[in-house]
Point group: C2
Chain length 274, copies 2
Amino acid sequence: TPMEAQSEFTSFPHASPPVRSLMSDLVSAVEQRLGDQLQACTLPPDVRSYRNDSGAASGSLHIRCGKDSSKVDFILGSWLHCQLPNGAALNITSLSGYLCSSTDAPNFLLELIQSSPTSLVLILDLPPRVELVTHPEYLSTFYEDTELDSWRQALEKVPEARPYFSSALYIRCVVSPTAIMLRIETEPGLIERMEEIVRDHVSPVAKGVLGLWLEQCVSGERVLSETERAALEKRDGITRRKTIEIDLASNFPRLFGPEIAERVVGILREVFGV
Amino acid sequence: TPMEAQSEFTSFPHASPPVRSLMSDLVSAVEQRLGDQLQACTLPPDVRSYRNDSGAASGSLHIRCGKDSSKVDFILGSWLHCQLPNGAALNITSLSGYLCSSTDAPNFLLELIQSSPTSLVLILDLPPRVELVTHPEYLSTFYEDTELDSWRQALEKVPEARPYFSSALYIRCVVSPTAIMLRIETEPGLIERMEEIVRDHVSPVAKGVLGLWLEQCVSGERVLSETERAALEKRDGITRRKTIEIDLASNFPRLFGPEIAERVVGILREVFGV
């Protein structure tokens, strides 16, 4: 049942309490606002929850596609957990929202990458779906008039936060100029301080940006010409293909082995339509 | 004469010794490599050198356009100096290279903004001329295969350097994913340390990036279809118009008064073709 599928995803068994609480709140906000536009999650059980042979790596995927009348193409939630050779664990938790080509409004992207309890890479953005350089009015509408950068500026003030530059240049290209890409490191052992930062700083900003996406991107009306829509579909296809390629195709087989990787990435390619 | 026009620009009367030395070296490198492709500077004397009524603000502009056979549209050098109400002075020194639509290779951009002898904002980039998101092969050619990011990573290690986020979101959009945008602050009074940073860290990187531009962007062959060339011309027009609007149109009248502003910005619009 949809309830069970969701509970596997929202249990976040390896996340710290404030990360679990943040993710639950975000998923609730999406459900509350968009629930009646979304279909139930129809993923097979072995993709909703998977683990490798040794049990050292496990993960969960949760996808709800938009109904035909919705501007939402799909909402994708995921977590994965992986014990590292050095004794620490890698935990990646993400929530993203992709819109249909009936609107060119930005998507939503949140990714929390923890390679130890005192280290967090945060990626939070509304990635644009047209080129901002040639569409200054799109830049004004979604990024300037919304004062989206004030969220980034707020988090930049956290003393333990440093700008994060993805080693994949393509990822730097697809995000917006207001993207929050931070590496937060607290001193070894100061797990409480990391939990405080997530609770008091990261959470309100993530909720604010998601709220803005729900209010102004999913809900706003955008009128597109045939040409614009064709260009949008082409661009969406390229970014989705590259995202899977960079994010998953290289790391997944290494972490989970070829069989699970093929199964999970295969489902994602299907949902992404690429 | 061309020699006189250049000497007004390359005297850099208000720059610190290492900034003056860096700029002279960069201008020499451009002259040596591209000199025979460039026309003499034909700017009127009151644009090659200008100052406001009180004498508190002065500046110099130096432009050499490419000959018809060259891929260089124009090389633009500029400095401006402005005494600030707080007793400090603002010094902006820049060198940029714009290519013609016979190639879509990146432009060159260097800007040094000093609002005091211990504060420097550095912008150094090869801004792309096509959208990288939809042209991953352009990203590989000019940014990945050239290892351009290694220059950024080198400067990032300077302890006094912090990433700089332009308040103009548009500027964040036009630069490449390997753009060097840094704010470097040394402790009050530590002018020698700033000069050391410019000499030992900023200079080699600026020369490296300019060298790469001269070798691989100005010189390489790029084959463009009619459609690609039309799109390139349109995009160049938009970015050039926005650059003048953001960089100059707002600040220049305030610093130099309407008459000088109109004269200098007018010439720039002509050269930029917008």
